[in-house]
């Protein structure tokens, strides 16, 4: 659906050239939710803005829905853009228009008849859960509601692709979740391909099928979300995975335990998919002469199954054997203290 080859963007500035996107190759399939994660300045916005030519690439090719975007200009480019919806961190609604008029805006641009506009707007208002708010102005809406208007507007012309530039970064966690649920819903209902960029691993975990990790204008790692969570390779990726799997206070709480003589071995177990449901702890306690205490645990849901991490301490004469046993199971075991 989308393919980028050797895509690069260099901004000439007074302080010399800034390479925002550094020769990226990427393929995104029809119907998938593809996430791009990276810290601020990694080049994510520049990358996503080249998908609809808001930013002209310095070199390389962009193909979206069978169209070579680089080669388009004028009317052709505008028509291609009508098939690519986009939503933004700060919503970018027209405050002088009501909700319904904002949603009708892309329809007006396309030249859809007034009667059709009205019908389509009503459908979209319903789809994004804003029934009854069509006559409100953006200033009368909450952030989450504004983003819903943004989504409805982006979907008005039945695009094949939806681009989301930090679409939830200005929202609180609860609103973020409801917007993400809406995106998944749209992805499933309409079979829409979604490309989203974010700096929050939570967003990737919750809705993406595949993810690319960006650093310094390059994609340093990419793959299925579950795989990336299970076996992050790059330091950058590990840091992002930690955002979700380890609550911030974990490390502090555990370090406290390390100072205690009686703690024994502290292990981090990582479960993926079906494993997360198996009674591993019960097994080792039955099989070996060990005491297990659970220090902290968390199971997260991704689009492709569950993912969990558990911190336990194991003490007793058979601790070594128990650890060896666990290693044989389909579970990642990392000894982070003792043992």
């Amino acid at each position: 659906m989308i393919s980028l080859s050797q895509l690069a963007k260099i901004f000439p500035t007074k302080d010399g050239d800034v390479t925002a996107v550094d020769h990226i190759d990427l393929t995104i399939d029809q119907g998938e939710i593809f996430g791009v994660i990276g810290y601020s300045g990694a080049g994510k916005s520049t990358l996503i803005r080249m998908l609809n030519m808001l930013e002209a690439p310095t070199s390389g090719a962009v193909e979206v829905a069978g169209r070579n975007m680089n080669s388009l200009s004028g009317r052709k480019l505008r028509e291609a853009r009508q098939e690519i919806g986009m939503i933004f961190q700060h919503f970018n609604l027209l405050w002088s228009r009501t909700v319904a008029e904002n949603i009708a805006f892309p329809l007006e641009i396309k030249g859809v008849s007034k009667a059709e506009q009205k019908e389509r707007v009503d459908e979209l208002i319903e789809l994004v859960g804003l029934s009854g708010r069509g006559g409100s102005y953006p200033s009368q809406l909450s952030g989450g509601q504004k983003q819903r208007v943004g989504i409805a507007r982006a979907l008005a012309n039945n695009p094949k692709v939806l681009l989301c530039d930090e679409a939830t970064s200005a929202l609180d966690p609860k609103t973020t979740d409801s917007i993400l649920d809406l995106l998944v819903d749209i992805n499933q209902k309409l079979g829409l391909t979604i490309v989203l960029i974010t700096h929050e691993m939570h967003v990737i975990r919750k809705i993406c099928h595949r993810v690319a990790v960006m650093e310094g204008g390059r994609v340093v790692e990419q793959g299925d979300v579950l795989d990336i969570f299970r076996r992050p390779q790059q330091a950058m990726t590990k840091e992002f995975v930690k955002q979700v799997t380890e609550p911030e206070e974990t490390e502090e709480a555990l370090r406290h335990l390390f100072d205690d003589e009686r703690t024994g071995s502290v292990l981090q177990l990582t479960f993926v998919g079906g494993d997360a449901q198996r009674p591993l702890i019960t097994n080792i306690v039955r099989k070996f002469e060990v005491d297990v205490s659970i220090l902290q645990g968390k199971i997260s849901q991704t689009q492709h199954g569950s993912y969990g991490s558990l911190f336990i301490s194991v003490t007793g004469p058979q601790a070594e054997e128990a650890i060896a046993f666990m290693r044989e199971q389909q579970v990642e075991v990392e000894v982070i203290h003792g043992g």
Partner: protein
């Protein structure tokens, strides 16, 4: 009517018929030049905005020329401008006397003044909104008509209110070189013939016109502003 007026103790020197005619002339000059100033000011302001760096019609030369025109004509004191423009007005209308003859000078003086306000109003629009419109496939014309003008409308209206009030005072100056109106009346009948009543009355009428303009402008602005 005349008898009643001349019978009153105060303002006995005021010829109300002349005052009324002068008021109409002032209103005529103001409204006529205001409409033209609004049009030219918006066109100039739009050009100034659109040709700036990073905007839709980025063009250094055009931006420089329009900017220079705006700055020069905004800086010339109106009373001098109107004298400078006498040959131009003469060529255009065949006369430089009467309220109609003041209009070219009023517009040429006020449009650059308003154009700057238009440019500032347009620059206030969030870049993200323009970008979102581009992403939706809007043409430059659609962006101008459906985004730039509607989104800046409250500022455009409050700017034209300020300009209208400036125009009222310009018309008074134009009066001095023979355009008629309240300024002319106050100067010729009031000052030169030593009738302070006339000057005072003309001032009050001008103030009333200004207050009415301000009131209409404020009402419109607050009604348009949905932020």
């Amino acid at each position: 009517m005349d008898k009643l007026m001349t019978a009153s103790v105060f303002f006995s020197e005021v010829n109300w018929e002349n005052m009324w005619d002068a008021t109409l002339e002032t209103i005529y000059m103001t409204v006529f030049s205001l409409v033209l100033t609004f049009l030219f000011g918006i066109i100039l302001g739009l050009l100034l905005f659109l040709t700036a760096r990073g905007q839709l019609w980025e063009n250094k030369t055009a931006h420089f020329i329009i900017g220079a025109y705006v700055n020069i004509f905004r800086s010339i004191p109106f009373i001098i401008l109107i004298v400078l423009l006498i040959p131009f007005t003469l060529a255009l209308l065949g006369t430089f006397l009467g309220p109609g003859a003041a209009v070219p000078a009023l517009v040429i003086g006020a449009a650059p003044f308003y154009a700057r306000m238009v440019e500032i109003a347009l620059r206030e629009i969030d870049r993200g909104v323009i970008e979102a419109s581009k992403a939706m496939g809007a043409s430059n014309g659609q962006i101008i008509w459906k985004v730039l003008l509607p989104e800046s409308m409250p500022a455009l209206v409050s700017g034209i209110t300020v300009t209208a009030i400036a125009l009222v005072s310009y018309t008074a100056m134009a009066g001095v070189i023979g355009a008629g109106g309240l300024g002319d009346l106050a100067f010729r009948d009031g000052f030169q013939r030593n009738n302070p009543d006339i000057t005072l009355t003309a001032t009050v009428v001008i103030l009333i016109i200004v207050f009415i303009l301000q009131f209409i402008g404020d009402q419109l602005t607050s009604r348009l502003d949905k932020r």
